[in-house]
């Protein structure tokens, strides 16, 4: 047991929690559920609502998080939506100042925004620079792939505006990453996607998949034959990345390799209560997978475990709904540990995907884990084996391109 002392807003809390309890490191804030576009695969059911988080609600959210003994020494605030940039920039000036005023002095705090880029302009870029916020843009590759799913409510493509956001961020010298949602349509286009990123100065990419989750009940990837094509795509893309060291950083490969090289078994923050705390625009508190925020399900109704105006995280922990969900998620992780050979490098899968694919949190294998974890781990393992020299060979000389890549590291 460890005794922690935290101070924030004149409040001092001392509490006992297990020393090995995962710390709260990610706060997902939903300033609005509203999204200015209408992607075909979106999991949010209330994305037409223009409701906005009040600063009073934000202050209460800060209080609940900053007073919690679960808080670690670092906290990342992820502004998620809906589309976070649908809220005026002036609101964020106030919000970030409020958070800065109330945070414990010792807390290292950072902000990140995930945006569709449509509203991103020079003012936003200056704001990101001023607040040192990390920016992620949702871009599905070239226009035909992107506009097939990422459209306005009037059916117009959004690629041109998203690419303008890329240019704005590049012109301002701001680092950013891109998240691409892979659908069945993209699986033959590994080379074209790689070229798209490189040609547009995109150096960091994450691949999401079209998930069966929340309001999106079907996926174009949910077919055994498609799964084989997905593996071919991942294998090809890994080869492209590997053969051009340092040119493109792909989140899935980085994460898989990090897990493979880690000396301890991997744990998944989505399976650990309060490692992630999500707060909706109206002050609703949730945890585990952030996609549970605002989602509904026949077995649980919703996943609103508490409200910032009614109590702290410790109070949430005592609710029947939280205990029921937490228990079922834990059983699911235990079942994964018993049955899955990838468990050591996975940590038990994503609870939201288990629920929305199978109807239960205590399920094991899902399409999501086959594609985003198993296929990627298999690819990285096999890819490295194919390209590596035996250990007995001693030190191997790095290629010239490798040396250049490594010299670019900060």
């Amino acid at each position: 047991m460890a005794e922690l002392a935290l101070a924030g807003e004149g409040l001092a809390v001392r509490a006992h929690i297990a020393a090995d309890t995962p710390r709260l490191r990610l706060l997902v804030l939903q300033p609005t559920p509203f999204c200015n576009i209408d992607c075909s695969y979106c999991y949010l059911s209330n994305r037409q609502s223009t409701a906005r988080m009040s600063l009073q609600t934000l202050a209460l959210a800060c209080q609940r998080v900053f007073e919690s003994p679960r808080l670690g020494g670092q906290l990342e605030v992820a502004w998620h939506g809906g589309e976070p940039l649908a809220v005026p920039l002036s609101w964020y000036d106030d919000a970030i100042a409020l958070i800065a005023e109330r945070r414990p002095a010792s807390l290292q705090l950072s902000h990140r925004f995930q945006s569709n880029g449509v509203l991103l302009n020079e003012d936003w870029a200056r704001f990101f620079a001023r607040t040192q916020a990390r920016v992620g843009l949702s871009i599905d590759g070239p226009a035909d792939l992107h506009d097939a799913n990422r459209r306005t409510r009037r059916g117009q493509g959004t690629h041109e505006k998203a690419m303008r956001a890329v240019r704005v961020l590049r012109d301002q010298g701001l680092p950013f990453h891109v998240i691409t949602v892979l659908t069945e349509r993209a699986l033959e286009d590994a080379d074209r996607l790689f070229a798209f990123y490189v040609d547009n100065g995109i150096t960091e990419v994450g691949f999401n998949i079209e998930e069966i989750e929340g309001a999106n009940a079907r996926s174009s990837l949910a077919d055994g034959a498609v799964e084989a094509r997905y593996r071919t795509f991942i294998k090809r893309f890994f080869g492209l990345v590997w053969d051009a060291p340092g040119l493109l950083k792909v989140r899935e490969f980085e994460s898989a390799l990090e897990c493979l090289l880690a000396e301890e078994p991997v744990w998944d923050e989505q399976n650990s209560p309060f490692a992630i705390v999500s707060v909706a625009h109206d002050g609703t508190i949730s945890t585990f997978s952030p996609e549970l925020l605002g989602a509904r399900h026949a077995r649980f109704d919703d996943f609103a475990f508490g409200h910032v105006a009614e109590g702290g995280l410790a109070d949430v922990e005592q609710t029947a709904r939280f205990r029921s969900v937490s228990s079922e998620i834990r059983r699911g992780v235990e079942a994964c540990e018993r049955s899955c050979r990838y468990f050591r490098w996975c940590g038990g899968g994503a609870p939201a995907n288990k629920l929305f694919e199978t109807g239960r949190f205590d399920a094991t294998e899902t399409m999501h884990c086959r594609l985003t974890r198993q296929a990627v781990l298999d690819t990285v393992i096999a890819g490295i084996e194919m390209r590596s020299a035996p250990l007995a060979g001693g030190q191997t000389p790095a290629r010239a391109s490798c040396a250049e890549a490594m010299e670019s590291r900060p």
Binding site: L26, Q114, R170, I179, F194, V198, D199, G201, T203, N208, W242, D243, A244, P245, G246, L247, L248, K249, R251, F253, E254, S255, L257, E258, L261, A262, E263, E264, W267, D268, E269, I276, S289, P290, E291, R341, R344, W345, G347, A382, G383, I384, E385, M386, R387, S388, A389, P390, L391, G393, Q395, T396, P397, A398, R399, A405, M406, S408, R409, P410
Partner: protein
């Protein structure tokens, strides 16, 4: 792609601190002479052994190229 450096616009900076790039560098060299067929469907024991072999191979060169990379055994939320 490595034989097409002219495709990279001059303004592009290389991705920062890529573990894949670092490991690619560590394992570069006599790769072609030592390629082995890779299988994607093996039993639990063999999978563990393969991962252990990769980790050992990388760590053998860790002091040269990987000292600044912090390996955290955590699967992070990705959206």
């Amino acid at each position: 792609m490595s034989n097409k450096p002219d495709r990279t616009p001059p303004s592009i900076q290389l991705a920062a601190v890529s573990l894949v790039a670092a490991v690619a560098c560590v394992l570069a060299g006599s790769a072609h002479a030592s390629r082995r067929p890779a299988s994607a469907s093996l039993d639990d024991h063999e999978l563990s052994a393969r991962v252990a072999a990769i980790a050992a191979r990388v760590r053998a060169d860790e002091t040269r190229l990987l000292p600044h990379l912090r390996l955290e055994p955590k699967m992070a939320w990705r959206n």
